[in-house]
């Protein structure tokens, strides 16, 4: 609030500028990237920018722009940031190139776990994984003598006990915002039950007892949630945690760091991480990855430079500087206490998100259709029938089924 702080801020800014340029080589080919805008991508693209001649575009509309921009000839961006699902349109349209040659040339520091292989060819280099897992208020659970829940039945029982004791009004938080978030919650539950979303002919297969069980569990959880659950996204749940309003939530691993942020959290050190609660087959969670792809419609020279720059972005130094920004797959990452939940979820056999063109349609149909069940407008059976009908219409229009 005075001149000194302003000057200090300026000085830090200048120092930040001077500290850069620690890139192994001097890039001379103009490069551009299009990625999502969250913190991990900021860290990675900042590290890439140290090589010079690089322009990062962190864009929240990236998934809408990427397919078109990579299909242009020459492609508007050389480097793309994708996740399981957003790679599908690029992959099927053939606008990203196989990376095997480049990996052989420049990829010595990559761990084999980072290669995303499709039909034997490396199509993307993964940099981080993310999944939803249980976060809980250790102090509340131990005060009441409740063991850490490992299944959703236990979560419900714990929630009932917490509510009974009157510690917090709403023991459970959930990213139940209508749309993608709510769809993802169903996907987690249904994967935990061992369900299959579509068959080999892309016909929907969710209207079964597993689907109904998943829906019923979602509804049972909402009984213990803030009644505004249909508008709560991960940032809101994270805030509820930080303000001590909830005791448990199945929240994204990338949000774990915020629980111990002294500047904004009132529960520093009290939130612990555990595996996602088990469904009847697997943990009710799905594993996501984010990674780098290189455009196909560019010259080999550009691809070469782009890959080298990308490798600089994904090196051990970057990870060291931003260790807690994410659950990195890059060698040099030291999993801290906050990554324990993500690791335990994976160790218990959580499945990868089943990304495919049909799944994209299904996820949207789920995200829009489930709210009617949770508000009580429809029963579980009707909800699933309607979601399947919505899926079929959309999939027919997309040409996925005839």
């Amino acid at each position: 609030m005075n001149l000194k702080t302003i000057l200090t801020a300026g000085a830090i800014c200048v120092a930040g500028g001077a500290a850069s340029a620690e890139c192994a080589f001097d890039n001379t080919v103009p490069l551009r990237s299009l990625t999502a805008g969250f913190e991990a991508w900021k860290a990675v693209t900042d590290a890439m920018a140290e090589c010079g001649n690089f322009e990062a575009n962190l864009d929240q509309e990236f998934s809408e722009k990427q397919p078109e921009a990579f299909a242009a000839n020459p492609a508007l961006y050389q480097i793309g940031g994708v996740a399981n699902s957003t790679m599908i349109p690029l992959l099927t349209a053939g606008t990203i190139r196989p990376l095997d040659d480049l990996v052989a040339k420049y990829g010595q520091n990559l761990s084999p776990n980072q290669f995303i292989r499709v039909d034997g060819k490396v199509m993307a280099i993964a940099m981080m994984v993310n999944n939803q897992h249980l976060m809980y208020r250790e102090d509340i659970l131990s005060d009441l003598g409740i063991a850490v829940p490992t299944t959703y039945e236990e979560v419900l029982a714990a929630a009932a006990a917490i509510k009974e004791a009157g510690v917090v009004d709403y023991p459970i938080g959930g990213t139940f915002m209508t749309g993608w978030n709510l769809g993802e919650e169903f996907v987690n539950m249904y994967l935990g039950e061992g369900g299959q979303f579509v068959d080999d002919k892309n016909m929907p297969t969710i209207n079964n007892e597993k689907g109904i069980a998943s829906l019923e569990m979602l509804k049972a959880l909402t009984e213990y949630m803030d009644p505004e659950f249909l508008v709560s996204d991960s940032t809101y749940v994270q805030q509820q945690f930080q303000q001590g309003k909830i005791a448990m939530a199945n929240l994204w691993a990338s949000r774990a760091g915020a629980m111990n942020d002294e500047a904004e959290s009132q529960v520093v050190g009290k939130v612990k991480m555990a595996a996602a609660p088990m469904g009847s087959v697997a943990p009710a969670s799905s594993i996501w990855w984010d990674g780098v792809v290189i455009a196909a419609n560019i010259s080999d020279e550009e691809a070469d430079a782009a890959f080298r720059v990308a490798m600089e972005g994904l090196d051990a130094e970057m990870v060291k500087a931003h260790n807690d920004a994410s659950v990195w797959l890059i060698p040099g990452y030291e999993p801290g206490e906050l990554a324990a939940g993500a690791a335990a979820t994976a160790a218990k056999g959580a499945l990868p998100y089943p990304a495919s063109a049909a799944m994209g349609v299904m996820h949207s149909a789920l995200g829009n259709g489930i709210a009617d069940y949770l508000t009580g407008a429809k029963d579980a059976q009707t909800t699933l029938v309607d979601i399947e009908a919505a899926y079929t219409t959309a999939a027919k229009e997309a040409g996925l089924i005839n």
């Binding site: 499709v118 505004e228 508008v231 690791a343 508000t375």
Partner: protein, 340 residues
């Protein structure tokens, strides 16, 4: 004015509208009757994705589009007639529900749900905006000259503020234990969750819209009030007309063209209500027609989008606006004929 001169004057403007509105519109119209889709084939693919420490490899059947020799996706366009409109309207479900006299049944069909809200939103806010706008205008006109400037400035704030920001700030005030919700709770002495049921969200959206648009109406009415014929007002006073009579018989008729202008603009804008749905995240409870169009159009993460249904839904929205505007346009037509 000669045609050539006229063309020179309106040319640039018309050209812009043709390029960026008319052509896309023709395309939208065409798309609503045709479906373009990639030609898919099913192949067996082995995929490896990272687990936490080791890779997970799976073999599965995947549907992928065929590529031609240039590496472009092969697409096929088919004429489907009214199929896209049928998919949007879902008439069979509508009739089934209507025959069973099930209002809630109709309300589970997206289009009809959206239409119900859009119509209600439009028709409820219209009189409110005109009424509140008129009240503000009269009150400003009635205030001391010295404070008019600042008051007009403050009044205009809700109108000029960026809509996305406006909706968000209302959101903060009411969401969860937002400051105004806390105040209401204190007042009513009960726990409130304003975002937990449809009617409170609808109420807030209407409140927001009136808050946002009433200043526009007010400023236009205020400008109109400056040109009220003083002679007729004075003679009305001499004739012993009460304030209410003067308002009803002289001021409102004088403002009528402006009221119609505001009504037309407002009808067009509210029928396209969209920002409120996104800003208030209400799609779990209420949706609007333009939101439906937008939702069809937004690609899912795998890049699929329902362009044909979006086009059909957009055409339906246009038809809806046209129907609502007919009574107002009729009057403009009469005026035009009367003056020319």
């Amino acid at each position: 004015m000669k045609f050539k001169t006229f063309a020179a004057f309106v040319g640039p403007s018309v050209l812009m509208m043709l390029l960026f509105i008319a052509f896309p519109l023709v395309k939208v119209f065409w798309q609503s009757f045709n479906v373009t889709q990639p030609v898919y084939e099913t192949v067996e693919v082995e995929k490896c994705t990272p687990g936490f420490l080791t890779q997970i490899c799976t073999t599965e059947f995947q549907t992928i589009p065929q590529l031609d020799d240039n590496g472009d996706v092969v697409t096929r366009t088919t004429y489907v007639g009214l199929q896209s409109y049928r998919n949007v309207l879902e008439m069979e479900r509508f009739w089934t529900a209507a025959k069973a006299w099930s209002w809630s049944g109709i309300m589970t069909i997206d289009f009809w749900k959206a239409l119900r809200f859009t119509l209600m939103f439009t028709l409820v806010t219209l009189p409110l905006v005109v009424g509140v706008g008129l009240l503000i205008a009269l009150a400003i006109n009635n205030a001391a000259a010295a404070i008019r400037g600042p008051v007009i400035f403050v009044s205009l704030l809700p109108f000029i503020i960026t809509p996305v920001i406006g909706a968000l700030s209302i959101n903060w005030l009411f969401r969860g234990d937002g400051i105004l919700t806390a105040l209401l709770e204190h007042w009513l002495d009960r726990d409130l969750a304003l975002f937990a049921q449809a009617w409170t969200i609808e109420l807030m959206m209407m409140f927001y819209r009136v808050w946002h648009v009433a200043p526009f109406a007010a400023i236009i009415f205020y400008a109109g009030l400056q040109t009220v014929n003083q002679d007729s007002l004075e003679s009305a006073i001499i004739d012993g007309a009460t304030r209410w009579q003067r308002l009803r018989l002289i001021i409102v008729p004088h403002l009528m063209p402006l009221i119609i202008f505001v009504a037309i603009i407002h009808l067009m804008d509210t029928y396209r209500v969209f920002e409120e749905i996104v800003g208030f995240r209400s799609q779990g409870y209420v949706i609007s027609l333009q939101w439906l169009t937008y939702d069809f159009l937004t690609p899912d993460q795998a890049g699929n989008r329902s362009i044909s249904r979006a086009s059909a839904s957009a055409m339906l929205t246009m038809i809806g606006i046209a129907v609502l505007l007919v009574p107002l346009l009729k009057r403009t037509w009469r005026d035009h004929r009367g003056t020319s």
